[in-house]
């Protein structure tokens, strides 16, 4: 972890702000601009994907625009399955038009005619309202002679479908198994055509950057982590919920605001993220220069068993691994059964070191981000709470 200068804790109101911003007007203003200018603004803003991986959004748009294959697609990744994350549901519930406009602007910029929202099956209750609003929105697009329309495809309960290539497979009626990369979505995405796939929150920021201009966005955050981000705060906190915060704050200021006074550790980035113990709060920066996060912040106080936390995560990965690659399919089972065996005394405590090596090798050799990231919670929890795992 770098010891960069932390920003102060600051609440922001861009994503859910509704007073001044009329999404459809943002669309109207920007449809008068050249597609390249819009893309340049997004690049200039420094916006990185808010799903967790953090690829520069503007570059994604640019690469896809430069592809010659047709048709192109804009996909909104609303398969929010990371434990501890619930911001996309809230966004789609409260400001869906901002998402739609982001998709339409992307379509206009890259030359796509079709936009699809992949909504996780757990959020099916949103469908009725979303479809109604989409119908209206699609009509508005038609009225403006913009050859673009948006539809929704539902998931059916599979965490791995949040991985972009698994999501394409699922949309194509197949098992949601991640593909080999390259090729990347910008060249071969949905239906093996050039595709921009952005997270729900990312799309709202593109709308807002087109509304406010890149400079306003750039003013927030740090050099490596521009702008703000929506955080899903849960666990041992008196004020669980959704908060938009400037990037670059230290974890200690975060805990000061959200903790219950007895915070032992924070799981940053969901089950696949890192567990940070109290002693590192001060030095941990929330952002791409420190610990990046899709927004999940789970707070644990001193009453919680970190064995239970880790066990819960490993059970989750064991079930939700797509199962195709060896390190993830078998590795997750070995980690889970391994800590159980240590807990029961059937394996020596030093077996945890074998398991840590395994986790690190899963990180190196697994096919996709799921298997690669299991090492994050495993190694950070075992390193910092070894006794809790053993005894």
């Amino acid at each position: 972890m770098e010891t960069a200068e932390a920003k102060n804790f600051k609440k922001v109101d861009i994503i859910f702000e509704c007073q001044d911003c009329k999404p459809i007007e943002v669309l109207d203003t920007n449809l008068e601009r050249k597609p390249d200018d819009i893309i340049l603004d997004i690049i200039d803003s420094g916006l990185k994907g808010r799903g967790g991986a953090g690829f520069p959004t503007g570059l994604k748009w640019k690469f896809t625009k430069n592809e010659t294959a047709e048709p192109k697609y804009v996909i909104c990744n609303a398969d929010e399955g990371e434990p501890g994350t619930f911001k996309d549901r809230e966004i789609l519930d409260r400001v869906p038009e901002k998402v739609f406009v982001g998709m339409a602007l992307c379509g206009y910029s890259i030359g796509a005619k079709e936009g699809i929202i992949y909504l996780r099956g757990e959020y099916n209750f949103l469908l009725k309202d979303l479809n109604k609003k989409l119908e209206k929105f699609n009509k508005q697009l038609k009225d403006r002679n913009l050859d673009f329309s948006i539809s929704i495809k539902s998931g059916s309960g599979a965490y791995i479908c949040g991985e972009e290539s698994a999501l394409f497979e699922s949309m194509e009626g197949k098992r949601g198994e991640p593909r080999n990369k390259p090729p990347y979505p910008t060249t071969e995405g949905y239906n093996f055509k050039p595709t921009v796939i952005n997270n729900v929150e990312t799309l709202v920021y593109t709308t807002m950057i087109c509304n406010l201009g890149p400079d306003k966005f750039k003013e927030l955050g740090t050099k490596d982590s521009r702008g703000s981000k929506v955080f899903s705060v849960s666990g041992d906190t008196p004020i669980a919920g959704i908060y938009e915060l400037e990037l670059g704050m230290s974890l200690s200021t975060f805990v000061e605001e959200f903790g219950d006074g007895d915070t032992k550790s924070v799981q940053v980035g969901g089950a696949s993220g890192h567990c940070v113990p109290r002693k590192y709060f001060e030095d941990t920066i929330i952002g791409f220069e420190g610990i990046p996060t899709g927004g999940s912040m789970m707070i644990f106080n001193s009453t919680r068993s970190m064995y239970n936390v880790l066990h819960d995560y490993l059970e989750f990965f064991t079930e939700e691994s797509c199962g195709q690659c060896t390190p993830c399919r078998v590795g997750c089972q070995q980690l889970l059964k391994g800590i159980e065996a240590v807990k029961r005394g059937e394996r020596k405590p030093s077996y945890l070191d074998d398991l840590k090596k395994l986790a690190s090798n899963m990180n190196l050799s697994a096919k996709c981000g799921l298997g690669q990231s299991v090492a994050n919670p495993f190694n950070s929890i075992v390193d910092n709470f070894r006794e809790e795992i053993i005894y």
Binding site: A158, I160, R175, N180, P182, F317, T318, E319, E320, S321, C322, G323, Q324, C325, T326, P327, R329, V330, G331, C332, Q333, Q334, K337, G338, A341, Y351, D354, K357, L358, N361, M362, N363, L364, S365, A366, K367, Q372
Partner: protein
């Protein structure tokens, strides 16, 4: 090599190499003779990149990359044996072993298992991980007479799944569930004999472990051989003689006919006979059936006679048709396959000639095929009053018998087949290659119609040869004899397909009317029987090409090249059957088919 591809420069283990754009790191490394282990990779199949045993280090990349699935890029620096790579690879092997039922000494694949080989190479004997094998997976599915499925040996490389879908267009096997529950399974995990499986065994050919194997019947055969009251007759299919050597230390593409016969005699079979003989017989029956159908359809306008006529020698193909295109079953030739023509004849004609009782004959066949095991057990296949063929062994099982018998195969002196069903023509031999039945049939049918040899140099009907998935050819009849005058000047359209995915394409073209043919040959396996599911492992296009060359060389070397000139064929018609399509032929040599569920 196409000229419009760019060359990409990279280094592997610091050695520079230039390869075509799109080449994988694996192939680039192989070009430099660096071996990278693989499990899910197979040259016949699309890349999966899921076993991760082939990971290598790419300088500057955070993670290791799967060399089978990653294309080269300019300036890449690859390390195939760094400490990072070795440790990760070893972990992958250990993980696979932890979910694998490693009772190697009891496994039919012992000594020929790719996982075992890797485990030995990487010295993982003392692997530390917990045993994850599910007890309920340890009960193998032995419902099929052809294929055994043992989930406790499965390492989920999905080669079988890709084989079943990409090469065979059947998809009897699929990946089901996810996470720790993920398995390779049939529909609702039904027994193999209850699903659309054609028993082709191509999955068996590509399974790296003992998860999918043939049902082995060696012990039954040994028992029969050792029983003095039994007379054991063995027949060997055309493609066995050009494949068997591979399991006995001989390079692919070597013909071992004489040694094979000698080995079977040394093993103790009372009589070693040739399926090629009944291949010739098949040509007599099927060629005549074709001409009869042509006359019925074209001259008599008989509505119930269906064209194109389709070959029925390949039991995997026949079952495919029963499942997938039952409406085309009337198009299948009523001829049994050579194995099943041999069966009843061994227990009737041969028994009579040799003064044996049918019940004392144990009829064994050695086949490049797993579907033949199923075929032998079809209820239709009891024309002799007994099960016509008692046991079907694969080429691999025969090689195992040779080893068990302590026979030093390569030092055997060549021997000849026994009579009276041991002689064959070159036409019978080429049954083992895709296009061979077609070529053999045309050699005879053309001569029946015109009295002249087929108008191809040295009788080699090259348009129907080769490895193109679907091939077609035209032959124009010139100089038809008076009784076949309706064929004078007619052009016969024929087509050949191999591998069931190609067969499916051809059937769709026929069904839609897009293509019109008179005669179609289909073999269920890629390359025909020479690439059969019972042949030595591994298989690849290169190996199949070598086997095909051996088959056509064998044909070219035969003194007799046409089925109707085989003296033992002439004798069996004179002494026993009468003429092709006679009443007796119908009773013994022809059969019918039944529709099966498609999904």
């Amino acid at each position: 090599m196409s000229n419009n591809k760019y060359l990409v420069n990279l280094t592997v283990n610091n050695k520079p190499v230039s390869v075509e754009e799109g080449t994988t790191i694996l192939d680039a490394a192989r070009k430099l003779k660096f071996k990278i282990p693989t499990l899910c990779h197979h040259p016949d199949l699309h890349v999966a990149g899921n076993c991760r045993v082939c990971v290598v280090e790419q300088k500057g990349a955070r993670n290791l990359v799967a060399s089978c699935a990653t294309p080269v890029s300019e300036g890449m620096e690859i390390y195939t044996n760094s400490a990072k790579v070795r440790e990760s690879r070893k972990h992958v092997i250990e993980l696979l072993l932890s979910e694998h039922n490693a009772d190697c000494t009891k496994c039919i694949k012992n000594g020929r298992c790719e996982l075992q080989e890797l485990a030995s190479e990487y010295r993982v004997g003392d692997h530390v991980f917990l045993d994850l094998v599910d007890e309920k997976d340890k009960i193998p599915d032995i419902s099929s007479p052809s294929i055994q499925k043992d989930d406790s040996k499965c390492i989920r490389c999905q080669r079988c799944v890709r084989t079943c879908s990409e090469l065979q267009a059947v998809s009897a096997l699929a990946v089901v569930n996810k996470g720790d529950e993920q398995r390779v399974s049939t529909f609702l995990n039904k027994p193999l004999d209850d699903v659309v499986c054609t028993n082709c065994g191509q999955c068996v050919n590509r399974c790296p472990t003992g998860a999918l194997t043939e049902r082995a019947y060696l012990d039954n055969v040994w028992e029969a051989i050792n029983d003095p009251s039994k007379h054991t007759v063995v027949q060997t299919a055309p493609a066995v003689r050009i494949g068997l050597g591979e399991d006995l230390g001989v390079d692919p593409g070597q013909r071992v006919t004489g040694k094979m016969v000698a080995a079977l005699k040394a093993i103790g079979f009372d009589s070693v006979l040739d399926t090629d003989f009944t291949a010739d017989l098949t040509i007599m029956e099927e060629g005549t059936e074709l001409l009869t159908r042509l006359k019925e359809a074209l001259v008599d306008n008989n509505e119930s006679t269906k064209l194109p006529m389709m070959t029925s020698c390949s039991p995997g193909w026949v079952k495919f048709q029963e499942h997938m295109f039952p409406e085309l079953l009337p198009n299948l030739s009523s001829c049994k396959s050579p194995q099943q023509m041999f069966g009843p004849l061994a227990k009737t004609y041969y028994a009579q000639k040799k003064g044996l009782k049918a019940e004392n004959i144990v009829s064994v066949s050695v086949m490049p095929c797993t579907a033949k095991k199923f075929e032998a057990e079809r209820p239709e296949m009891r024309a002799s009053g007994y099960q016509d063929v008692d046991y079907v062994l694969t080429t691999r099982e025969m090689a195992m018998m040779v080893k068990q018998a302590g026979i030093e195969f390569e030092s055997l002196e060549d021997q000849n087949y026994d009579s009276i069903m041991g002689k064959s023509s070159g036409a019978g031999v080429i049954f083992g290659a895709t296009g061979g039945v077609m070529e053999a049939a045309l050699r005879t049918a053309y001569e029946i119609v015109t009295g002249e040899e087929v108008p191809f140099k040295n009788l080699n009907i090259t348009p129907v040869r080769g490895m193109e998935g679907v091939r077609d050819a035209q032959i124009t009849v010139k100089g038809a004899k008076p009784e076949w005058s309706f064929l004078e000047g007619a052009t016969l359209n024929v087509a050949v397909a191999h591998g069931l995915a190609n067969a499916k394409k051809l059937m769709q073209a026929v069904k839609s009317g897009e293509k019109e043919y008179h005669f179609i040959e289909v073999m269920g396996c890629p390359g025909g029987c020479l690439g059969g599911g019972g042949q030595p492992i591994p298989t690849s296009q290169e190996i199949r090409d070598a086997r095909a060359k051996a088959i056509y060389d064998e044909d070219a070397d035969m003194p007799i090249r046409k089925s109707h000139e085989n003296p033992e064929i002439q004798a069996i018609y004179n002494d026993f059957l009468g003429e092709p399509l006679s009443h007796k032929s119908h009773d013994l040599l022809h059969t019918h088919y039944k529709p099966r569920k498609r999904y």
